[in-house]
């Protein structure tokens, strides 16, 4: 093993390759890796942020849902109440109407009874007059005995 100029050649090669690596390989690779690292950390931060936003949105959604449910049940309750009101009102109206009609019918009946009584009385008077005239065989002057007849009719 003899030392010769190969040594110098190798040293030259070493210097050359180290220079090349230093100049063209190391910086660009390292910057690419640094960029990627930044990008990854950015991405992680963004995903973290997204997760938080999602959580917030979910909380908000739950809140909204609760509110909506509350409102719905309120509305339902009101509607039920209103329906009950309407029903009771209608019942009230129907009852009063029925009572009114009943009263009217009673009044009418009473009126008709009174009318019938009057009619009957007139008939009885007529009948009585007719009967009396037959008995007397002469005309009874209804006008002349009006007061008497009236008095009689009142007694019936």
């Amino acid at each position: 093993m003899d030392i010769n100029a190969t040594l110098l050649g190798q040293m030259l090669g070493f210097a050359l390759f180290v220079w090349f690596t230093m100049k063209f390989v190391w910086p660009s690779l390292q910057s690419a890796m640094k960029d990627r690292q930044e990008r990854i950390s950015d991405g992680l931060a963004a995903s973290e942020r997204g997760r938080k936003e999602l959580e917030q949105a979910e909380a908000q959604q739950a809140e909204l849902l609760k509110e909506a449910r509350q409102q719905a049940s309120d509305i339902l309750e009101q509607a039920n109440k209103r329906a009950n009101d309407i029903i009771s009102e209608a019942r009230e109206t129907a009852r009063s109407e029925g009572e009114r009609q009943l009263a009217q019918a009673k009044a009418q009946i009473e009126q008709e009874i009174a009318q019938a009584k009057t009619d009957l009385r007139d008939h009885v008077i007529t009948l009585a007059i007719t009967g009396a005239s037959r008995v007397l065989e002469r005309e009874v002057d209804a006008k002349a005995h009006n007061d008497l007849l009236q008095d009689l009719a009142k007694q019936l």
């Binding site: 010769n4 050649g9 180290v18 690419a32 890796m33 990627r36």
Partner: protein, 274 residues
């Protein structure tokens, strides 16, 4: 199995000889240099492509591999080398991947490169550059240069000189300090390069020795496959080579890692004040 001339010694000698151009100090081991530059360029090319196409989005397979490597080296450099320096991490990356690729040539079948290149007209071609002391010393001396450079840069000329002269025994043992520090300084590249060289050289030699098991048969395949001893040797060789190669899947990156790690440690020591 094919290089029969000169027997086992000749075979081993042939496998350990470099393709050399020129004589004396200015000779070049062109096979080592070629492989070393080829693999270095390959490393640079792939990492450049990976870096060039690098996006902050989802990385492709190449970018992923390149980034994994980069992160691994960057982590080690951050843990070991305190303070900011633009050279350390790229240097560590280059060292690790380059030495890994150089060592990986150990797993290329032992006869493939010499035989192929022999058929093409080269007499010697040694594909594994890490068993060339020039290559390993080339790397470690570059690291030494960086160590000295860092020492001057971080401690200043005065600081470094003072440390060389007064550390560790104080100013009264100045020559002794200087001697000790120089030995310490020189021990670093020597240990680095000899460790790498020794490991890979031993590995390569054992691959060659395993390959010599059936060397006696040469190209007489028929004889080898029909005789009991030939079959036994062939099977034994296959198993041994496989086991050794599997072991080297561990050794190859380990040696590259040790070289890289120690370089970073030495540089961090050079940059730190005592």
């Amino acid at each position: 199995m094919s290089e029969n001339t000169g027997g086992v010694t000749g075979y081993i000698q042939h496998h350990l000889t470099h393709w050399q151009v020129g004589e004396g100090f200015w000779a070049l081991h062109l096979d080592s240099l070629f492989m070393s530059f080829l693999l270095g360029s390959l490393f640079c090319f792939f990492f450049w492509v990976g870096a060039h196409r690098a996006t902050a989005g989802t990385p492709g397979p190449l970018q992923n591999a390149v980034e994994m490597m980069l992160e691994f080296i960057d982590g080690i450099c951050r843990d070991t080398f305190h303070g900011k320096n633009p050279i350390v991490a790229p240097m560590a990356l280059t060292l690790f991947v380059w030495i890994f690729l150089l060592n990986l040539m150990d797993l290329v079948p032992i006869d493939l490169a010499p035989d192929t290149m022999g058929a093409l007209g080269w007499e010697y071609f040694k594909i594994l550059p890490s068993v060339n002391l020039n290559i390993t010393f080339g790397l470690s001396l570059s690291v030494l240069a960086l160590i000295i450079g860092f020492s001057f840069y971080y401690k200043g000329v005065g600081g470094f000189t003072k440390e060389l002269l007064t550390h560790p025994f104080g100013p009264y043992l100045l020559p002794f300090n200087l001697l000790l520090n120089i030995v310490e300084l020189l021990a670093k590249p020597i240990s680095l390069s000899l460790r790498l060289f020794g490991n890979l050289y031993a590995a390569e030699l054992i691959f060659i020795l395993i390959a010599t098991l059936t060397l006696g048969f040469g190209t007489a395949w028929g004889e080898m496959l029909t005789s009991f001893s030939g079959l036994t040797l062939l099977i034994g060789q296959t198993i041994l080579a496989a086991v050794w190669a599997i072991f080297h899947i561990l050794v190859v990156p380990l040696q590259a890692f040790i070289f890289m790690m120690l370089s970073v440690v030495y540089l961090s020591m050079a940059a730190e004040h005592h």
